[in-house]
């Protein structure tokens, strides 16, 4: 009798991590440093990465900037893009993959183009972040354009509960503002302009001594 692993109860508890079950493809060649002679790289991508490399004493410091450049171009750190960046940086694509998978903001799978990070750490959750995330999830409801994620502390506990909308910090977001916020994102409009962190004055009353206040 052969055993079908998928029918064994211990495989069902959900602690599996993507990638852990993947074998290599023995048909592929080993992934060494890509040879420029056989790895075409878009000129602007090359220029951007090379400019970053020039800023550091060691070219490898440009790993994160290079991966950002790939992500901007391809929407995620696609294998093709990673190979191109590796070719420019003269490292193995493995080097960049190891880096990419370490950081939360680098996407190693295709994602929606609207990054919507909801902080669900302590301060925000004390102020209703979990409910906010649930409401957004319902509103977005599988829309492939959205990359909605619960995120660790985004450093904006003063506007809890909050979200980072394509890099723009917004909060505190009331649950009844969720439809409006999602609609604005879909329409490409600024999200909840009145609640953007950039416009928020300091909480410290002494800070306003010299007048001015927030614009």
């Amino acid at each position: 009798m052969t055993i079908d692993p998928s029918r064994i109860a211990r495989f069902e508890h959900g602690s599996r991590i993507p990638g852990w079950d993947d074998a290599v493809d023995l048909e592929k060649d080993p992934a060494g440093v890509p040879d420029p002679a056989s790895t075409p790289v878009p000129e602007d991508l090359r220029a951007e990465i090379e400019a970053q490399m020039a800023r550091y004493p060691d070219r490898r410091s440009a790993a994160i900037p290079a991966l950002y450049a790939v992500q901007r171009r391809y929407g995620w750190c696609s294998p093709e893009g990673v190979e191109q960046a590796a070719c420019v940086m003269r490292v193995t694509p493995g080097y960049l993959t190891a880096v990419a998978t370490f950081y939360d903001m680098l996407e190693t799978r295709p994602v929606g183009r609207h990054a919507l990070y909801v902080c669900t750490n302590i301060s925000c959750s004390l102020c209703g972040a979990d409910e906010l995330l649930a409401a957004l999830r319902e509103e977005v409801d599988g829309d492939p354009d959205f990359n909605l994620r619960g995120f660790e502390c985004l450093g904006a506990c003063d506007i809890a509960p909050m979200a980072s909308v394509n890099g723009q910090y917004v909060g505190p977001i009331a649950l009844d503002e969720v439809p409006e916020l999602v609609a604005q994102i879909r329409a490409g409009e600024p999200p909840l302009p009145a609640k953007q962190l950039e416009r928020r004055p300091s909480a410290d009353p002494k800070a306003a001594v010299h007048g001015g206040g927030a614009a």
């Binding site: 991590i17 074998a23 592929k28 060494g32 056989s38 193995t92 993959t97």
Partner: protein, 821 residues
Amino acid sequence: MARPQQELVTFTLDGREVTAPQNMMLADAALEYGDVEIPVFCYEKKLGPPVGACRMCLVEIEGIPKLQAGCSVPVKDGMVVHTNTPRVREAQQAVLEFILINHPLDCPVCDKGGECPLQDKSFGWGDGISRFVDPKRHFEKPLALSPLIAIDRERCILCYRCVRFSQDVSEDYQLILQERGAGTYVATFDGHPYVAPFSGNIIELCPVGALTSRPYRFRARPWDIEQSGSVCTLCPAQCNVSFTVRDERVLRVLQRDHEGVDDGWLCDKGRFAYQAIHVDERVTRPLLRDGGELRPVSWELALDTAAAALKRAGARTGAIVGGETTSEEGWLLQRLMREALGSADLDSRAGGALDLELHRALGAPALQAAVPDLQYADAVLVLDVEPIDDAPVLDLRIRKGVRHGGVRLHVATSRPSALDERAAAAVRFAPGAGGALLCALDAALSRAGDLDGAAAAAGVDPQDVRAVADGLEGDVVILWGERLTHGPGGAEAARALLNVAARLGLAGREGAGLIEIPAGTNGRGLREAGVLPNAGPGLGAAPAEGRDAPAIAAGAAAGELTALYLLHADPLTDLPGRETWGAALEQAATVIAHAGFLTEGVREHATVVFPAESYAEKEGTIVHPDGRIQRLRRAIGRQGDTRGEWSVLAELARRLGTDTGVRAPSMATAKMIAEIPFYAGLSLDEIGARGVRWTERPQAFAFPEAPAGPFGLASPQAAPAANGRLRLGTFRSIWASPEVEASPALKFLHPRQRVELSPADAERLGVAHGARVAVAGDGGSVTGIAHVRAAAPAGTVFLETAIPRDSAAILDGPLVEVWPA
């Protein structure tokens, strides 16, 4: 990088005083000098500086409030260490409990069981109880990581040894960690297999059963096997190995860490090609050509036939000796040739004779660097040799020297080298123009002579030569390939090399010198044993000077020689001049071969084939390129009807009227040593398990002296003008060997012809990367897959030799034409 200092300090270890070298890591010092094991998982000295990741080695050091990681604390004088207090025990138990949280404990079905550090540590330092009651995680297992390695991610304890090896030792950076935290796992980029020349080392590094050898998995349990130490003879690096033997079969090869040879690493050829010992293709019985076919015969008939044929040929016999021949076999063969047959036509070098004086000058003990010098030198020049193909483990040693900051590396080769990325400067000379390059280097170093002219002849920029010359300061080690001294310009190249050595003051300088990588494993030992047309044992003057390899080919082709004795050599795959050799083998009335595999020349032309012992069956000695005499010991019984080849040679000599007096392999060793003055007094006991560098023994003074230059050098001939054609460069891949082809596990690596071109040439010729191309020279044409490399120098095309089909040996350079096939 400075050599480790030997100053001693005394510290207290669990109440006892222990003396150990200062700054040695506590875990090492405790084990080596205090006989106390501090358990470790992530720490492995060979991987470089400790990382302190697994936390298994926590110990108490008085005066420091927190427990310290014993792997990363250098011992200091007066330090007081406790490794067995309740606090330490609790911490170590805690770490083991953490490690075992997600370890499946499937030891009964684990290939590592019984030789598993995690089992040992759990037994020695664990609590035996886990308080973890949640479900462990489970994954598909095992998965292929490569054709050679299986990965079981459940068992992985994330010690990172394997990725550190890939990233920090072999520097291939293919094996990586993905994700982070408890989700971290070992993987490769986008599902590519981890295939690299040294990948197998991660199997041995893994302290659990997460990485296992696919060829070895479930072939034996630790209690079924024995370990038997010997030396790998598959390349000149001569790594020390330990054969895992079960029922007279080699099932595995492990490293046998020797700082002076291999630093504890093996290449995948050395690790997996043992499979070729036990394949059906191997010749294990004497064969005789009968009606055009080789058929198995009795030893008596084979010996009779061979002896009779040799008797007929007498002095009209030529012998070619391959690199895997032991010194004793070589010594016996030269006795057979010189004494029994009266022939001096024997050679162990492929590329033509060199003056005896030059052999002596290049081999002089004062000029020989040792392997560790590659790591500690100020500068290393890699000259006309590709370590990764020609002596793989030295590639790691050079990288180590560069990585630790001390070594300035220069690479001077025709073909782009794997070491280029680590080199301060890389110079590309035209194929075969190594001598011209050395002339230019000599001119640059001496600030005399025609640097520009010599550089032009070598096809390099004089500025680049100057840059190399400027970089060769302090303790310099030159790692050079025998091929430099091949061909008509060989002698001049040797003189130029001696000039460079003289200018750099290498003779007698501690930590500096030359290391020659011979074309064959035991090239050095064979020369010292007298397997040269112009030298007897001990590089003494030969009673009569004979033909060298090309002359033997020509002589046989012309009918002047009627018998050929091929001792572990197939001229068609191993030697240049394939066309002449083809005619020679065709012409010769008798071709006697010792062979493990029926390669082309043997298959088509041998009249008598004696089965060759594999290196696991052999007894004798070989000499490492740096002068270390190493001992081969039998690990298994001889396969099939194979006999000791020493006895075959001695028996043939006896039947031809020369009693060598050799009745056992150790007698051959003793008698050979007695004839080599600079080996005087050596014994197998002294050689032992670690070998002896004869160059360091007092008897080395007896090495025959020779003028060492500087010599006046003739202006080198310019590299041929291409006239629209391409220069032909050849290389022999690490994987181009019959053992690789015969090993089921390694077969996938056995090379097919790849034609390396520069992007400029590829474009000009309309050749696309990956497309099939044809290459034609004066001798013939081959096809292969185009491999366009950005680093390839324009104007030259590189092809593989020593492969059964489409070998570059068929072409005859120096110029070839390339077109899309």
